[in-house]
């Protein structure tokens, strides 16, 4: 049978490889390459997990899959294909969610090393915590186009995935989306909201009608508000349904009446080009001469947008006959046509350059380009790191980048020393963080869903009060605390300085949240809470706020606050790391050079 690593690697390392167990999380772009490498090197025991099924757009790089596999489980097909390279390997495949409690700390503990080949932050956060809790080394990796990186995460040795706070995903203020779009992306976000309002689950944060509370327009929309109230009371979906999704009525309401209304908020247009309401009979059918492009790269005329929009309304109306809620998906042709046409019409109204369906799909679906070669390089480097870990040389692992060009020393890939854990990290170092909020406005449900789960990455939290009795206010056991969920924090006497012991049993993750009372005015615009991180930071933050308010008065508009988070699926990349040192043979040991980390959107 295959020779594998013998004759090439030290005998003691081969022995260790032969006795190792590896867990690979994700069987996509990096995963396929990684599994091939692991099997060829001779890793005898590999478990793989991926919830996804194979899509045709995977085939340009995920070489363990073929056209006839489209729709099948990635984990299963990857296993079958890889076994052909070395039938002696034991591979166990799960088509499952890594966050399931089946994969608990004991499950993780049976492996020598865990290899992440993931495409989203939320799963990365979870595996990070599981590996810290189980004290198993984790090799993290990610790619985006020509760029890629891999690093080792090991408790007490190197920084964890959450040591560097995310710089925040791209966000747009609500009133920019609803009232004053200035870029095509604003129109695309608006169109996705419109899709949800008309056909999906309505979200109060995704309103598409003019925002009368726009601080910029304050005071000049009095009469108009009255006129519009009737509509505000009925949900967009109900209104559309009552009008049978009539294309003329929907179009006129969105692209004429609402625009007229926006024009009545005259303060908005003193320094902006005012939008132009559209009349169906006057839609232009002129197209720029566009040659040498594939059909999807042609920009639609406004008349064509209207026709597409009308057709989508008709098709989507059929789909929600049984009061179903649709979920927007970039790979659903009609859903994509809908967003393209609506975004282009809105862009036209606001004098913004339109783009093709192809380009809008990139933006709306947040598609990260991906190619086989970068994944192959990174997956190779991941295995080099894994071999060091298995050999007991974890400290020799590096943070390795693949860049567009070699660095000034002509190195590519470029490696740098691992960073030490951040002593302020609330995941791997510290056990408490401060959260600013108004206890009378926050329900336990919001606290659980938006703060503990969405923001702090917990899966099934338990929360205990510091009231001397250890009252459990949120329990991960189904039904135990349901009656609490709609009560506010104030109703449990949670106030400034209260400490909540929050615990996720699956992740073996415990954090004490210290409540810092903040009124709505003190919080960033449109936000109900703010995670400050550590307590010292909270103190300086308070000073800042007071200084700011002292200087500028309250309610200063801040464009960066409202978070419009675009789906992060398709991300085959870890978040950009800020604190990196460069490794180089020519640099005396101990001296570190700062270098630019790859910034990946």
């Amino acid at each position: 049978m295959a020779v594998n690593c013998a004759n090439l690697l030290p005998i003691e390392l081969c022995e260790k490889v032969k006795n190792s167990k590896v867990f690979m999380v994700g069987a996509g772009g990096i995963g396929c390459e990684l599994l091939k490498n692991l099997v060829l090197v001779g890793f005898p025991y590999i478990e793989i997990i991926d919830l996804d099924t194979i899509d045709v757009s995977n085939l340009n790089r995920q070489f363990l899959f073929r056209k006839e596999h489209v729709g099948k489980s990635k984990a299963e097909v990857a296993k079958e294909s890889a076994l052909k390279f070395n039938p002696n390997t034991k591979i166990i495949a799960y088509q499952d969610n890594i966050k399931s409690d089946k994969y608990d700390v004991d499950f993780f503990k049976k492996f020598n090393v865990v290899l992440n080949a993931l495409d989203n932050r939320s799963a990365r956060v979870h595996v990070n915590r599981m590996c810290l809790a189980a004290d198993i080394p984790l090799i993290e990796s990610g790619t985006a186009g020509y760029l890629g990186q891999t690093t080792l995460i090991k408790k007490n040795l190197s920084e964890c995935y959450e040591c560097t706070p995310v710089s925040g995903q791209k966000s747009y203020p609500g009133c920019t989306i609803r009232n004053t779009p200035s870029e095509l992306i604003h129109c695309i976000v608006w169109s996705k909201h419109l899709f949800n309002q008309l056909f999906g689950e309505a979200d109060a944060d995704e309103e598409v009608s003019p925002d009368t509370e726009d601080p910029e327009a304050a005071g000049d929309a009095g009469e108009a508000v009255q006129k519009n109230l009737d509509f505000e009371r009925v949900s967009t979906r109900k209104w559309a349904k009552e009008n049978d999704y009539n294309n003329l009525k929907v179009f006129t309401k969105l692209f004429h009446d609402d625009i007229k209304y926006l024009l009545s908020m005259t303060n908005l247009w003193t320094e902006r080009t005012p939008p132009k309401p559209l009349v169906i009979s006057e839609l232009s059918d002129t197209q720029d001469n566009q040659s040498n492009v594939i059909p999807d790269q042609r920009i639609w005329s406004i008349k064509e947008c209207f026709d597409k929009f009308s057709n989508c309304l008709k098709e989507l109306k059929e789909r929600i006959k049984d009061d179903e809620n649709l979920i927007w998906d970039k790979d659903d042709d009609i859903a994509m046509d809908f967003v393209t046409s609506a975004a282009c019409i809105r862009a036209h109204i606001f004098g913004i350059q339109r783009k093709s369906r192809f380009d809008i799909k990139s933006m709306a679906g947040n598609i990260i380009p991906a190619i086989a070669s970068t994944n192959a390089i990174i997956a190779g480097l991941v295995v080099l790191q894994a071999l060091k870990v298995v050999q007991g040389r974890a400290k020799d692992c590096r943070h390795i980048y693949m860049n567009l060009m070699p660095n000034p020393r002509n190195k590519l890939p470029v490696s740098g020393y691992l960073c030490e854990p951040n002593p302020k990290c609330y995941v791997c170092s510290k056990s408490s963080i401060a959260v600013r909020l108004a206890p009378e406005n926050i329900t336990l449900r919001f606290f659980q869903d938006k703060i503990l789960k969405s923001s702090l990455g917990m899966v099934a939290p338990d929360v205990e009060l510091d009231d001397g009795k250890g009252t459990i206010v949120i329990s991960s056991e189904e039904g135990e605390t349901t009656e609490n969920m709609d009560k506010t924090l104030s109703e449990f006497s949670i106030k400034n300085g209260s400490q909540l012991k929050c615990d996720d049993f699956l992740q073996r993750y415990e954090v004490t949240i210290v409540i810092a009372e903040a009124s709505k005015e003190d919080l960033p615009e449109d936000q109900e809470f703010e995670v400050v991180g550590d307590i010292e930071q909270l103190k300086s933050k308070k000073d800042d706020v007071q200084n700011e308010n002292g200087k500028n008065g309250k309610n200063e508009k801040d464009d960066t606050d409202f978070l419009e988070v675009i789906s992060d699926e398709e991300m085959e990349v870890s978040e950009p790391k800020k604190r990196k040192a460069e490794d180089d043979n020519e640099v005396p040991s101990g001296k570190r050079l700062k270098t630019d980390a790859i910034e990946i959107e």
């Binding site: 190619i371 086989a372 997956a379 890939p413």
Partner: protein, 279 residues
């Protein structure tokens, strides 16, 4: 060269890369013909990456038969069945499965026996084996024909490659004050025989040159992980060479998989070589 238009199916299949390098580059790839010399682990990795990218045709060439050693790095053969058969021939069926759009064939030949006329039909030739003499001759022919030549080897855990793209014309992208402009540019590459006379003192480079000139004995195994890394980089450079987008890395690369994970490029120029002024 075929001028047929890219189909909807191809656009769907190549979506994630068209979004990276554009439709024009994809069309250039669709018309490109590549010869891979030596179907060991390195050859297999390069083949996989460029076939997935969607070139027009690939010819796999090898005069050796499959041995046990191939099982540690060559995933395009079936190690349970193919031992003793020609390596190129055995690699054809799995290569075809990677991407049915690509024409795949093989020849069981040695470099010496390839005629200039035969070599002319390739846009890129990637040799993963060959003596100094063979490659010197091949390089002369490629320069005459306007073919881009890659020559590299994986010797155990140590890997290197050299590129001669002759006078390589490409489109340069410049971003200034957030405005992207494109301009035509030319890169000049020195000949293989000139590069061998370099006086660059780097130990890694000397090690690679010693393998090429035969001072060091070849290692008969390729470490699969080294193949993956250098195969990825060479494939990326082949794609760049074909699509004529962005400058190529000039012109010698060394990767030691027992090192810290970084790779090293060298701009190896013969002293007083006239193309120096271009770099």
């Amino acid at each position: 060269m075929s001028n047929n238009e890219i189909s909807k199916e191809e656009v769907d299949q190549y979506d994630r890369q068209i979004r990276l390098w554009g439709i024009e580059a994809q069309n250039r790839l669709r018309n490109a013909n590549v010869l891979i010399i030596g179907m060991g682990g390195f050859g297999a990795e390069v083949t996989k990456n460029i076939v997935l990218a969607g070139i027009n045709s690939i010819v796999l060439m090898d005069d050796k038969n499959v041995t046990m050693v191939d099982g540690s790095c060559q995933f395009l053969i079936d190690i349970t069945k193919d031992i003793g058969r020609n390596r190129a021939e055995c690699s054809v069926s799995r290569t075809k499965l990677l991407n049915p759009n690509v024409k795949v064939s093989f020849i069981a030949e040695t470099i010496k026996n390839l005629s200039n006329d035969y070599l002319k039909k390739f846009d890129v030739i990637c040799a993963t084996t060959g003596s100094q003499e063979d490659i010197t001759r091949l390089d002369e022919t490629c320069r005459e024909n306007g073919t881009v030549l890659f020559f590299g080897c994986v010797q155990g855990t140590f890997a290197y490659y050299f590129i001669d793209a002759g006078s390589h014309e490409y489109t340069k992208k410049t971003i200034k004050n957030q405005e992207t402009t494109y301009s035509e540019d030319v890169q000049e590459f020195p000949k293989f025989s000139d590069v061998l006379e370099t006086r660059n003192p780097s130990t890694l480079l000397i090690k690679a040159l010693d393998f090429i000139t035969g001072v060091k004995k070849p290692i008969l195994m390729e470490f699969g992980v080294a193949c993956a890394v250098i195969g990825g980089i060479v494939a990326q450079e082949i794609i760049k060479a074909i699509s004529k987008k962005d400058p190529l890395y000039n012109n010698f690369f060394v990767f030691d998989s027992q090192g810290d994970g970084s790779g090293q490029f060298y701009k190896v120029l013969k002293e007083k070589y006239p193309c120096q002024k271009f770099d």
